[in-house]
Symmetry: C2
Subunit: 261 residues, 2 copies
């Protein structure tokens, strides 16, 4: 990565300066992969933006970045440029959500980011201290799966105001999600909501409701960890379509309508 003509070291102080301008910093985490963290991050950002807030998303999933695709802005890479104030985020079309993602800096969408942990660490810090998000009401961190380099690095440098934990109703998923909940405890970070994604599927033909995954109700998990807000998002073919076509901002349902954070 090249953030200007000379190699630049980012200090913790620089990161703190940037983060001072952000009122609320929310992490979207799971531990488990493929449970829809990025979709949840996007839906949460859209919720806040529709309410009139200034919102940013930092796509911390350097190895599998998918936020730009969800907003249909993956080709706007020429907009993530280095200005006097730092690396400029790319603004989403409808709501002006400020997105920062490694995906904008790759020559092709399928270019792999084959980075060991130390490289991920360096890049995360560079983006944290080097991106000009500006004044924000909400900055959402879309984390990769796992309790490794990415969340550890962000949480060392940024005091998150809260974490939205994402799971699917599958016992195997709960086991891995619990590992992430334990990590949040370690960092003394509040879990402000538990999202049960792919909660159920309604057959579009006969209307029958199916629980595709068969785990315990996530309310039990929420109760165990004292999480007050549980948000259930069904498998919705329309949501899948809007996500796949990069039109997440046009999707009509706001699952975070009653989310008072």
């Amino acid at each position: 990565m090249n953030l200007g003509s000379k190699e630049k070291i980012i200090t913790g102080k620089e990161i703190a300066e940037r983060m001072k301008k952000v009122k609320k910093k929310i992490g979207v985490l799971s531990g488990k992969g493929g449970v829809g963290k990025s979709t949840v991050s996007a839906l949460l950002a859209v919720h806040y933006a529709r309410e009139g807030y200034q919102v940013g998303i930092y796509d911390v999933d350097f190895l599998g970045p998918s936020i730009p695709r969800l907003f249909g802005i993956e080709r706007k890479k020429y907009e993530m440029i280095l200005s006097r104030d730092g690396l400029e985020p790319v603004y989403s079309d409808r709501l002006g959500i400020r997105v920062v993602s490694i995906q904008f800096l790759l020559p092709k969408s399928e270019t792999p980011v084959m980075w060991r942990g130390v490289a991920v660490n360096q890049a995360i810090r560079t983006f944290l201290g080097g991106c000009s998000f500006g004044e924000l009401d909400y900055l959402i961190f879309d984390f990769p799966p796992g309790t490794g380099e990415a969340p550890l690095t962000v949480m060392d440098f940024v005091e998150l105001d809260g974490i939205v934990m994402v799971t699917i109703p599958h016992d195997l998923s709960y086991m891995v999600v619990e590992k992430a909940l334990k990590m949040a405890e370690k960092f003394d970070t509040e879990i402000i909501g538990l999202v049960e994604n792919m909660s159920y599927f309604i057959c579009p033909k006969c209307g029958e409701k199916h629980n595709i995954f068969l785990g315990e109700d996530s309310e039990i998990l929420a109760a165990k960890y004292g999480i007050e807000r549980v948000i259930k998002i069904p498998i919705d073919l329309k949501l899948a379509k809007f996500a796949d076509r990069g039109r997440i901002e046009d999707y009509g349902i706001d699952y975070f309508e009653d989310f008072d954070y």
Copy 2:
């Protein structure tokens, strides 16, 4: 991690000695999380074991290990002990598949493995050179999501005979899977099969077949990368149940029946 009374450095030569005893080394990879890599790894191992082969699984997903749970052996941790020949794998109940996973060494199933890349690197090498898999026909590597520390470390030390790539029929997933395909190219490793998981859902009430995800057919992706074998696995409530209850060995359908590798 403590593999005996004194700290032990594992050399590349030791790893090579261990791997000499394994006839075929297969990686199960995706790039994308939550597409069912672990389930596919388990189903592939069960397929080979039923055919009478000696089979092992190395659960390389240190941050989100799920192989022990799929086989219902997560409580057998006292069996993963250090013998004279190294760290003993745990044998599955029905077919004697030899499983190595960090999960066996954790005090509780929900204990998080909060490791940066360097720690993951060290642990992977320790297991590679320190586990006594013995003589094997097939050793299956169940990788975590991403193109980072774990696959890079394994592929630096072990020459994989082939990779089974796992995807779901979702354009966003294809984009990330392509990154993993590019990584495999970089290591000159053959893709011996593409698994399209969660391929479709058959409504148990009305029998209607639904494509829950809406991406292009994965045959197109397979053709683009010259992959000859495409295996489609539907969303099957029965498979989910057997997986959740740790009875993957009792599941009746063999999706790898025609998989001639």
